[in-house]
Amino acid sequence: MPPELIPIQIAVEPSGNARPLLHEVAELLKRLLETGEPSTIDLSALPLNPADLDWLQTRLGEGEVSCQVQANGESTLDETACRGVWWVTHRNERGSVVAQFIEVAFVPELLKAHPQDIEAGREQLEVLISEL
């Protein structure tokens, strides 16, 4: 059973550590606009408790785009109400969260198809056409 599905959870108060992260995200957005350089914050590397993460996610809000990638478990990549700021959650095939990131980018890295995969897709399409 994934730990977050256990019905009894310990109540946790926000530690206040999430607040400065919003300043960091603002800086990264500025950098994205000025240089086009995307960046990522690894949320599991920071001293944030579940309540801090909730606080952060609520503040950033929900945006227009939400994506799911089925890659060895589900990954969700949701744009927050602040456009260009994405909340990325990787889960394993049992549904447990294995990593969480805030990605500041026009499009998150994981969503882009790799040129070699596109090449393989083109070949597949050619076969399809030749068989018509």
Binding site: D42, V69, A71, N72, S75, H90, S96, A99, Q116, D117
Partner: protein, 359 residues
Amino acid sequence: MQGPLIDTLVRQGIGRRTFLKYCATLASMMALPPAAGRAMADALAAARRPSVIWLPFQECTGCTESMTRSHSPTIEGMIFDMISLDYHETLMAAAGQQAEEALHAAMKENSGKYLLIVDGSIPLGIDGAYSCIAGRTNVDLLKEAAAGAAAIVAMGTCAAFGGIPKAKPNPTGAVAVSDIVKDKPIVNVPGCPPIPVVMTGVLAHYLTFGSLPELDDKLRPTAFYGETIHDRCYRRPFYDQGKFAKTFDDEGARKGWCLFELGCKGPVTHNACATTKWNGGTSWPVESGHGCLGCSEPDFWDAGGFYKALSMPADPLKMGAAAAVAGAAAGVAVSFANRGKKRAAQVTHETTTLADLEK
């Protein structure tokens, strides 16, 4: 057979997105910056599968069990696609003469390039006769295999430090890999058994950067063994407040207070259990209500009793109430000393802190 790794994975239906996700997660677990995930994915995809020879000596197969069962058949299993495991007695189909031939063929073909993984300690008593494979002693086999290895990974506490076979009175004269091999790079991955992701992390680091990860003075990767269990324990605030469980069924135990007085070895044990946890992130010993045994430290079996608090005297006959109070006080002092040490380490090593983010 020995083409780039990504080709092998794509053939098995593992796409690049899955691979990128795996690398991002691995980088996060290894406490590397997020950008490293992308770099790892590029380097790993192009990596050629290195030959790996796994030699079991005086061991219980627990390390192999940990590796193969933990998240099977999930992402950690992928590491077996990243390497060419040419010899592993427990996992290989061949036996007897064929197995020995496979071992020698792999050693000859990949001389100077293969990675040697050893689990189990090596007995030196009566000329090593306590443990033999195909009529040869472990120490003889280790010396032969080590000679052609690029590096050696000592997997588990037995191979890293001697482990349980070395426990007093050490009847077989068991020693660690590093007691015998002196001229090759060695990585110790202790634990009884070690956490699977630590193992895959070491291999991924080797494949990605072409070198072994940063090691501490006991040759352990600092990414996983850099901090003690106690430093990362979610029960640490109770220790700092002096709230301890006194028995396994008292109020403190029910409220999840610190297990220091019940013999938890967390303060002196370097491992990643508190953060990576076990069984796919479900729980770990302290979370299930039992103190840390210190299984990843040298001589943990002889460390004076699993249920004796660290700073209490080892002789139970002399342990009175006064000693227990003194023990608790000493514990608090250790806590402050550790925090000071940790702060100093963070000041010198960490590039980004929350204080930096605030500006």
